[in-house]
Amino acid sequence: MSAYLVKRLLLAVPVLLGVSLVVFTMIRFIPGDPAQLMAGQAATAEVVRQIRESLGLDRPLPIQYAIFIGNLLKGDLGRSLFNSAPVVEELAQRFPRTVRLALASMVVASLIGIPAGILSATRHLSWLDSLVMVIALAGVSMPVFWLGLNLILIFAVRLHWLPAIGHETWRHLILPSVTLGAASAAIIARMTRSSMLEVLRQDYVRTARAKGLAEPSVVRRHALRNALIPVVTVVGLQLGTLLSGAVLTESVFAWPGVGRLLVDAVLARDYPVIQGAVLLISTTFVALNVLVDMVYAALDPRIRYE
């Protein structure tokens, strides 16, 4: 297990270096002087010169990259062009809100997706099965921002049951987490269904039935435990998707997280913030994928020997 763990962790290192390289190069591909871009149009010549020096722009590219990584490791991602706040502070303030939203969405997605998938598999080829699968397909086909706007229209504008924007209380969390979790619920339902169907065909399930166990017990004690292994992976991977999917949901609900920060920064061409937000989201995404692989390997020993 530990050998697999080390190997998996080591594999993530070049990916993270690659991600940082893309973010580093990004600013250099945009037409114009990177120092001027980083300083903003209103900056004085002195500020531009300082930035040029701090980024090492007059030195060869590999050195510039080393400086970039050095700053990154010191936790220095530069300052926002608009409020001059350090990007790291801005991210530290907003990241917990995005995580809260993503975790709440994951709970919503699992609570809907897993039971729906089990229901569908145990009633295989019935009208209920078809209905669940059509709803699931509609769930993955629906633009997440459109679902969010519709929920605002119904529950905030018309019924006045829930707030449309804000992030202070748990009530503010309901509409955004349902919006963000809906597509994941659909994916989890499809995965749970196919995994359950696969397991229900296995010999040990037939044995359990043959020895006279009641069907609910067969499903719960014998099938579900095995069927949930791949589902755990999908749920874990969905968490990564949810963190990035928050870009849209946060924009709809004015949720002050990293996703909304990124979109605002792109629209305002606030490059240091764009770099910081992209790095943070992608690093978390890669880390989550590694974590999911590890959990999967712990749950299913067969994986480690492949």
């Binding site: 594999l11 070049p14 990916v15 993270l16 690659g18 991600v19 390289l21 893309v22 973010v23 990004m26 591909f29 945009i30 397909l137 509609a138 993955v140 086909s141 629906m142 633009p143 997440v144 921002f145 459109w146 706007l149 519709n150 605002i152 229209l153 504008v157 499809r190 269904r193 196919s194 169907l197 990564g240 998707t241 963190l243 990035s244 999917g245 870009v247 849209l248 924009s251 709809v252 990124l262 979109v263 792109v266 629209l267 764009i274 992209v278 989201i281 992608s282 995404f285 890669v286």
Partner: protein, 259 residues
């Protein structure tokens, strides 16, 4: 299939089908609800929403097909060569793909749009590039299993050269999974482009693009909810159609994948 047929026909014959010019503003008739004159109502500038949705089908069709073509054109050759030749090219291409997959797809699209700038063409390029790793991985996996099969060995024994083996014997056998993936990818490309349009990072106004239409409609959610409902329905039904077709094709072409 019916939904997709309507989508395709709307896109192709938009000029004949649309009851009004999708760009003609009529400020006096703005934000009007559905009526016999304007079946789906009008938007904030008094433009006919049905006509804009019909023209929007054309925009989505172009985005879906061109971005998928970009993904196929770049991803398939990489997958073919990496899988067949292995070695350094394989190693290098796999690491690049690992890095691209290290970005969540919407984030990668946003990074590309930041560099390239907004607008229809750049959205197609961004959405296309995002799909490259998927194609490369898929084809590489197929080639790895195909190249050890007997029919490839037979071709080699008969003296067929490498290009002939790769393009005449291996590539046609990857087509089934490629067609399924492409269908599903069109759905995902339409969704991604709409998302970028909604965020203001995609196709810009006044072009009749579904995501951009929703972006404007959100400001009138209280006054004119119809401006929000219909463009969203158009996206959902089209994407639903492609997803359904993709699932159906997968069941038909590869019964083992049937769920």
């Amino acid at each position: 299939m019916a939904v997709l047929a309507i989508f395709a026909l709307s896109g192709i014959f938009a000029a004949w089908l649309a009851p009004y010019d999708p760009y003609r503003a009529d400020l006096e008739g703005s934000l009007a609800g559905p009526s016999p004159q304007h079946w789906l109502g009008t938007d904030e500038l008094g433009r006919d929403i049905l006509s804009r949705i019909i023209y929007g089908a054309r925009v989505s069709m172009v985005i879906g097909s061109i971005s998928v073509a970009i993904g196929v054109a770049l991803g398939v050759p990489v997958g073919l060569f990496a899988g067949y030749f292995g070695g350094r090219f394989d190693l290098l291409s796999q690491r690049v793909i690992d890095v691209l997959l290290g970005f969540p797809s919407i984030i990668l699209a946003i990074v590309l749009v930041t560099v390239l700038g907004v607008g229809l063409v750049n959205v197609m390029i961004a959405v296309g590039i995002v799909s490259v790793p998927t194609y490369a991985r898929l084809v590489r996996g197929q080639v790895l299993s195909l190249k050890t099969q007997e029919f490839v060995e037979a071709a080699r024994a008969l003296g067929a050269g490498t290009p002939r083996i790769v393009f005449r014997h291996i590539f046609p056998n990857t087509l089934a999974v490629l067609i399924v993936q492409t269908t599903l990818q069109v759905a995902s490309a339409i969704l991604s482009a709409a998302a970028l349009g909604f965020l203001g990072l995609g196709v810009q106004q006044p072009t009749a693009e579904w995501g951009a239409m929703l972006s404007t409609a959100r400001q009138y959610i209280q006054l004119a909810p119809h401006t929000l409902i219909f463009p969203g329905l158009a996206i959902m039904l089209t994407v639903f159609g492609f997803n359904l077709l993709g699932d159906g094709l997968r069941d038909a072409l590869d019964p083992r994948m049937k769920i």
